[in-house]
Symmetry: C2
Subunit: 325 residues, 2 copies
DNA sequence: TTGAAAGCGGTACCAA
DNA sequence: TTGGTACCGCTTTCAA
């Protein structure tokens, strides 16, 4: 592999001159031509390690997330990447599969890969662990979608409680008194917030909470499918069900139809996240739509601000969802 | 940020000794204690750039893929990461969103991030472009799921043609003569292979191909949903439909049910990829199940072989799918 | 504008 | 075992 020294020798100039040319400073035109020729001939590329060693930055952003295959995260990540690319950064995604050990390790590894900043969708790390791992590296971090208690950095969240409140309330207003919720595990803060929204809607409408109508498990098709079957086994069946994420929604309406029931005549359903799916169905399923794009763009902008030296107080932004009927 | 020099000074030993201790060589025990104390006190961490500059490796593997949110890729990536981690490597995922410009850029960026090897799920890059970008870096690469024509490196694929052949044939054997296919775009090689399997099954069973029953579009719910509606508008309707990926399958059976039709009585359906979904339905949908785990493990192993110096001929492996009835 | 030289933070060789 | 030192490849300062 050719080095800057080889280029300098071949072009008959000094290393410094080559370096300047590479980095966009002006160089006398005959030398520029010679350097360009030498670079071409040797197929020279700057060594990224050497460059980063000197500058201590890499123009890389880490994205640390729990689950690579949720469509929600896919959309968010695409939005993030777009903004970063426009500003000359590239994104390195690291997925910890909702596993605590991997969450630690992958954070460590991203740091070793030389990231300049971090977009972090946390799950199980404590603020202490985070600090221990990042201490000394001064890596600006923006938490996204979820937050770690006590971690004092920028965060961009979605208003999950309000969204599910509104979905539940809309079913109640249609006359339903037995409204169920099928949601993700309590350990994930977004799931918990959605549960809170559900409970508040019931209580605001003077409906007693029945825990047989309150199912929480993981964020999968199976949860939605089996959750519905479980609801059908309850003596006083629900007449409407709110789903709390993409896969649960699909599992739910599939189970409804497997039983030969019609939506909304036999059972009313409110979907979550899978807007394209729900709006295409006949009749369309009402659905909570999260602002994935805006979430990504906002978080990216917060991080870019920090990378450019902004040092104000940590910002916390909560974006509203929209309900699509 | 403390450097190795600071540690050496505080521990009253030389830099070399500290370096040796860090890298696992034996050091006299009193010095070891002093070094450990100094590291703790200064909260010292080796600078990844400096280390990589010397060794020219990073213990990082790049995974370059087109679509982060397909469940298929999610499972594959998880399997890859597991193997790499067991061997001391970590994975950096880069998603190019099926965009040619980004495919180039992200490959370049992964190289700049200092990857030692690459798992590559290609889409639109030519062998020339690949060589141009990687020339000089000697980054061992394993192509996965798809291949670039003329790119001579290890590859691990899935036998898509056989899988769809078998799915189509099974429907024909049940008596169907009008069997449709809804698949992804022709530009993606896996989609094309699936189309080939379909066409061959028809011809082997003396069924004339009817291009009204042959729909290809992108790999989305909408393709499955609208594709089915389009099929229902054909004068001589199909009696069975094969789907060619996850989202298409879900779109397809949702559309079937939106029309009030029953599976399999009114229309027969063969799913693809969404094994959990299909097997849970009542009655279960037959489905093509890809060997995601094995695909990931095999590709990872091929890459590790190369990183450990194996230099045999490029290997091409094609893994079979299984049909689940 | 140009070039010499001093680092950036480690690693590894070699002599002690 | 230990420590001095050259070196990895590039950037940047400073003097010419």
């Amino acid at each position: 592999m050719a080095t800057i020294k080889d280029v300098a020798r071949l072009a008959n100039v000094s290393m410094s001159t080559v370096s300047k040319y590479i980095n966009g400073q002006t160089v006398r035109s005959d030398k520029e031509i010679a350097i360009r020729a030498a670079i071409r001939e040797l197929n020279y590329r700057a060594n990224p390690f050497a460059r980063s060693l000197k500058s201590q930055r890499n123009r890389a952003i880490g994205i640390l997330l729990p689950d690579i295959s949720a469509p929600f995260f896919g959309t968010v990540v695409t939005a993030l990447e777009k903004v970063f690319r426009e500003h000359g950064y590239h994104a390195l995604i690291s997925c910890y599969s909702s596993n605590h050990g991997m969450e630690r390790d992958n954070l460590r590894h991203l740091i070793c890969a030389g990231i300049d900043g971090l977009i972090y969708i946390p799950e199980n790390l404590s603020a202490e662990e985070y600090h221990e791992l990042t201490a000394g590296y001064s890596i600006p971090t923006v938490q996204m979608d979820r937050i770690i208690q006590g971690l004092d950095c920028d965060a961009v969240l979605v208003d999950n409680a309000d969204a599910v409140y509104a979905a539940t309330a809309s079913l109640i207003k249609k006359g339903h008194r037995r409204v169920a919720l099928i949601s993700g595990a309590k350990s994930v803060s977004t799931a918990k917030e959605r549960q809170v929204g559900y409970l508040r809607a019931l209580s605001d409408h003077d409906i007693l909470f029945d825990d047989a109508l309150f199912i929480c498990n993981d964020h999968t098709f199976a949860t939605g499918y089996q959750g519905f079957e479980q609801l059908m086994a309850v003596p006083d069946r629900p007449t409407a069900v709110v789903a709390a994420n993409y896969d649960i929604t699909i599992g739910l309406f599939t189970a409804v139809r497997d039983r030969g029931l019609r939506i909304p005549e036999d059972i009313d359903v409110f979907g979550f996240d899978c807007t394209q799916v729900c709006t295409m169905m006949k009749p369309p399923l009402p659905v909570v739509s999260q602002p994935e794009e805006l979430l990504g763009r906002t978080a990216a902008q917060y991080l870019l601000d920090r990378l450019q030296g902004y040092s104000g107080e940590p910002r916390l932004t909560r974006l509203p969802c929209s309900l699509i009927y």
